[in-house]
Amino acid sequence: MVNVVIEPDDQLLRRVPFLNPDFIKPDGTPASSAFTPDKNEDGLSVDIEKLTTPEKSIISVQIFRLFSLRASMTTELGFENVHDPITDNYAHALIKGKFTRSISRKLAQSAIRVNIG
């Protein structure tokens, strides 16, 4: 598979659970911990919007909401956006860099809800 270059204007999509547990706060923003990579990840998993569709990326509208981050926003915070295709998901990418609690909050606060359908 060919890796694509992630451009500054690209949108990066991340699923956020909103049922059991509910990660969406009363003001509509996701909790900071929704934008924190787990220890087994080499970065924060996202999908590159231009390589997928919101309907496919969200997997289940019953369980998740979809949020997007502008690629230039993450690079301005010192991160590197890397296309990382995986089995069954060519659009998969990783936001790589040093995640701190405050950075995760900044990402969560900056994320914009993507409406499906």
Partner: protein, 161 residues
């Protein structure tokens, strides 16, 4: 103890019942908190003293205990018993301070996150599986303090006073 009649009946029927505390959160719901220690058991007086935001985060924390690995659609692990116990303990021990809890969420690495909010002031407290904690205070979304809740309890309380 804050006990609903229903939970008493269930407890009596259970042969495994060993005196675990049952705590009512909302009128029609009851939950078994199995992680209470002697210092975090809610007495009637303490439970009645909790405001709605504290009861709501307790409900959220309790639900986190049922999560399975991968609950976030990626690779998150469930909150650890230690994280849950310490988060509940924090709510219990600070009941008298009327902390304006805003949200509670699990972390992806076994933590429990409490968010406290009042106007333009926000605090995030992470209770980690290794017993450590992390406190972050924000004003107008600018980070103004980062440390542990143990070392910054006075600063935390005065931040919202």
């Amino acid at each position: 103890m804050q006990v609903l009649q229903k939970s008493k009946q269930v407890a009596r029927k259970s042969s495994a019942y060993t005196g675990t505390t049952y705590l009512s959160i909302q009128p029609c719901e009851w939950f078994q908190f199995s992680y209470f220690t002697a210092s975090t058991i809610f007495s009637d007086n303490l439970y009645n003293f909790l405001d709605e935001s504290a009861r709501d985060v307790l409900l959220r924390i309790n639900k986190m205990q049922k999560l399975k690995t991968g609950w976030n659609g990626y690779g998150a692990i469930p909150p650890s018993e230690i994280s849950v116990k310490n988060a509940i303990g924090f709510v219990s021990e600070n009941a008298k301070h009327r902390i304006p809890y805003y949200f509670a969420a699990p972390g992806v690495n076994g933590e429990v996150l409490l968010e406290i909010k009042s106007d333009d002031k926000v605090a995030e407290i992470y209770f980690n599986p290794d017993h450590s904690s992390e406190l972050l205070l924000y004003k107008n979304e600018e980070l103004v303090l980062e440390g542990t809740i143990e070392e910054n309890r006075i600063e935390f309380l005065s931040f919202f006073s």
